[in-house]
């Protein structure tokens, strides 16, 4: 990273590159930045999509050594819901606020036409919340808790055959909104040989259906080799376990069968550790790509509201002017509604007054009759 490269950087056109005659000290800048980030803490949001019982909670518990268990859900929910859980993890001096959002009732309905819609709506809602905060006049983006989904783990059923239609439908609706990492759940029910075939089939189906999944970045020399190899392991065949089994003198996460023990953290048994490693070492990149998805959402949303960068005569239109116009529209609408409600209220009052008068008249009559007797 020579200084001359920086000189050629598009933003630095017109700047001279200077050489320093002695140590200035701004090489501590990354440390200063990191110190602040560590103080502020990090956050990461994972979305798990998969059928009921495919092992989402077990996998999350295994990945992060934290209990993400919740009450077992029924198969009889009328539509898909999402459940979010947050926990704080600390490792050396890094504090991570991890949020895991799981689908509940995915794939259980008889008619699966709109199964994916609640999921898409949820992702959009997080983008919308961030956009709202960003557009506020007085905002606090610095302390805003970012709830945008950084990665989506899509659980594929271990049928050993191919992807289901619902998988393709859901993935296609999500691939332009979130980073998708496909995983094969309960992978200990497939044999090694079948697994290879299954993985190949899945990947080719994804490609032929034009579904974009997250590729681990290969542009940085230090990690490109590892990442290229890992990209070849997609989709990850994972096994999760809430229980620990005593092996030797240690307690390890594993699933105990009569014919043996499947160790979650053993790389020859399953890809859980690979998934964990890849998630952790690419967190920044996942967040970066999420920002790009957010920008796309923001652009579509603002365009839908009628905002443009270039106005009718090809002159740049400021967003503020559009916001002002919309605000004016909104105020006028509010005034109109207020007027309407006032009118209705007056009408009701008059009606009620007339009713009471009539009732009074009627009530006063029997008194006269009584007095006669």
């Amino acid at each position: 990273m020579a200084a001359s490269d920086a000189g050629r950087h598009p933003q630095n056109v017109g700047c001279r590159t200077l050489s320093l005659s002695a140590h200035v000290g701004f090489d501590s800048l990354p440390d200063q930045l990191l110190r602040k980030s560590i103080k502020h803490g990090f956050c990461f949001n994972i979305l798990c999509i998969g059928e009921t019982g495919i092992g989402k909670s077990a996998l999350m518990s295994s990945l992060f050594n934290t209990n993400f268990e919740d009450s077992p859900s029924t198969h009889f929910l009328s539509s898909v819901r999402l459940r979010a859980q947050t926990c704080e993890l600390q490792e050396s001096n890094v504090l991570l606020k991890l949020t895991v959002v799981k689908t509940v009732g995915f794939g259980d309905q008889v008619n699966k036409v709109d199964t994916y819609q609640p999921i898409v709506d949820y992702i959009d809602a997080q983008f919308e919340a961030y956009l709202e905060e960003e557009l506020k006049v007085i905002r606090s983006l610095f302390s805003y808790h970012d709830t945008r989904i950084h990665v989506c783990l899509y659980f594929i059923s271990p049928t050993g055959r191919s992807l289901k239609t619902i998988d393709l439908l859901t993935l296609r609706s999500l691939d332009s909104k979130v980073n998708i990492i496909p995983v094969i759940g309960k992978a200990d029910s497939i044999s090694k040989a079948e697994l290879q075939e299954f993985k190949k089939k899945i990947m080719s189906e994804l490609v032929s259906n034009g579904i974009r999944i997250y590729q681990f970045p290969t542009d940085d020399e230090t990690v490109s080799e590892i990442n290229t190899i890992t990209n070849g392991y997609l989709p990850f065949a994972v096994v999760g376990s809430m229980e620990k089994v005593k092996i030797g003198n240690k307690m390890v996460r594993a699933r105990q069968y009569p014919w043996g023990v499947v160790k979650v953290e053993n790389e020859s048994h399953c890809d859980t550790i690979k998934l964990r490693r890849m998630l952790c070492t690419n967190m920044e990149d996942l967040k970066e790509k999420t920002r790009a998805y957010y920008e796309l959402y923001r652009r579509c949303r603002l365009e839908k509201l009628g905002c443009r960068d270039i106005g009718p005569e090809n002159k740049p239109v400021s967003l503020q002017e559009v916001i002002e116009a919309k605000r004016l529209e909104f105020c006028l609408e509010m005034e109109r509604k207020e007027e309407e409600i006032k009118q209705r209220f007056l009408q009701r009052v008059n009606e009620k007054a007339a009713m009471l008068e009539e009732a009074e008249q009627q009530a006063s009559m029997p008194v006269c009759l009584v007095s006669v007797f």
Binding site: A22, V24, V80, L82, M283
Partner: protein
């Protein structure tokens, strides 16, 4: 501001078979001290390395402005700070050149690199400040320039299709040079700092500190601090932006003892005790710039560059820029006035 899970639309018709909690905070992981076996390590602390790599790749921007009457050694000081010829000294006005009628703003950008860290440094000079006969409102062009940079950034931020990284030309730090009169601050100093301390981070420095003895220096500094306090001028680091106790104690010490830094600048080297040092040679001795016994240049350098550079940028972005933005979006500034009176003031919350 946590959005709960999405609920189905048919909730009213279908009875709940399973109780539906909205959010369940989970028991946090056991602290590292207890479970340190390999099983316990997840790897989330690698995020630090990832961030470091990312920031090294993108590089940093830093914009520093120097304000003060001519002849106070501004250019020399900036050159000494960044150990290179970032600022060309104005060699005084030639007879052919006219003294500028107003304050000029000259911004020159450089790219410097150290230890793999690339920095685009912009030094903004303000020749003509305080040099006229009538110096009323000579801070206005400076305030205008600073606000223009905020405006530029705001325009980029409000675009529909935004750049991935918005170029940052906002002034992160303004070094204000105080004349070493030994008495007190001049009215011009107070006026400038009063107007600008709300808009930008101001770091006052006492220039040409080699004209004062140690006692005079301490007295002058105390008096300056007192005057700034009396006039309600909050210089950087501002008390209200201390994030936690650690920051507060560190910054309190700087605010109450060290600032304003009494500095001497030089770009010439001399031999002292077998070492080559930057200094000023006088008949009565060599003033070593980086010697803490001689002047406080090293303190200023460490403060601005080695410890608080990132913080200067963050205060500019999170506080000064946000203040400008809020004023701009609320105050209708620059837009044609709306003809209809609105009853309430809605926040632009789309």
């Amino acid at each position: 501001m946590f959005k709960g899970p999405v609920e189905s639309k048919n909730e009213a018709t279908m009875s709940e078979l399973v109780p539906e909690p909205r959010q369940k905070p989970v028991v946090p992981m056991k602290p590292m001290g207890i479970n340190t076996s390999l099983l316990g390590y997840i790897g989330i602390d690698t995020i630090i390395e990832q961030m470091r790599k990312k920031t090294m790749k993108t590089g940093f921007d830093f914009n520093i402005m120097v304000v003060g009457q001519s002849g106070l050694g501004k250019s020399t000081l900036v050159n000494t700070l960044f150990k290179s010829q970032v600022s060309r000294k104005s060699s005084g006005w030639n007879r052919e050149e006219k003294i500028p009628k107003t304050v000029e703003i000259k911004a020159i950008g450089h790219v410097i690199e150290e230890g793999g860290v690339k920095m685009k440094l912009t030094v903004i000079d303000t020749p003509g400040f305080g040099d006229q006969i009538n110096n009323e409102n000579c801070w206005e062009p400076i305030e205008k320039y600073i606000n223009e940079q905020y405006e530029k950034f705001l325009k980029e931020e409000v675009n529909i299709a935004r750049k991935k990284r918005i170029p940052d030309t906002r002034v992160h730090c303004c070094l204000y040079f105080i004349s070493p009169t030994g008495h007190s601050l001049r009215p011009l100093d107070l006026e400038f700092m009063k107007h600008l301390s709300k808009v930008v981070n101001i770091i006052p420095v006492i220039a040409k500190a080699d004209t004062m003895t140690l006692e005079e220096k301490t007295e002058f500094k105390q008096r300056v601090r007192k005057e700034l306090e009396v006039n309600g001028i909050e210089f950087y680091p501002q008390k209200e932006f201390d994030e936690d106790l650690e920051d507060k104690t560190e910054n309190d010490k700087i605010r109450q003892e060290s600032m304003p830094f009494a500095v001497v600048g030089s770009d010439k080297e001399y031999q002292v005790n077998g070492k080559r040092v930057l200094g000023r040679k006088t008949p009565w001795g060599i003033i070593e710039v980086e010697n803490l016994n001689h002047c406080e240049f090293a303190l200023l350098r460490d403060f601005v560059i080695r410890t608080h550079l990132q913080d200067l940028k963050e205060v500019t972005h999170n506080i000064h820029y946000e203040t400008y933005r809020a004023k701009r979006l609320n105050g209708n500034g620059g837009l044609p006035p709306m003809t209809v009176e609105t009853e309430e003031n809605h926040e632009s919350n789309l």
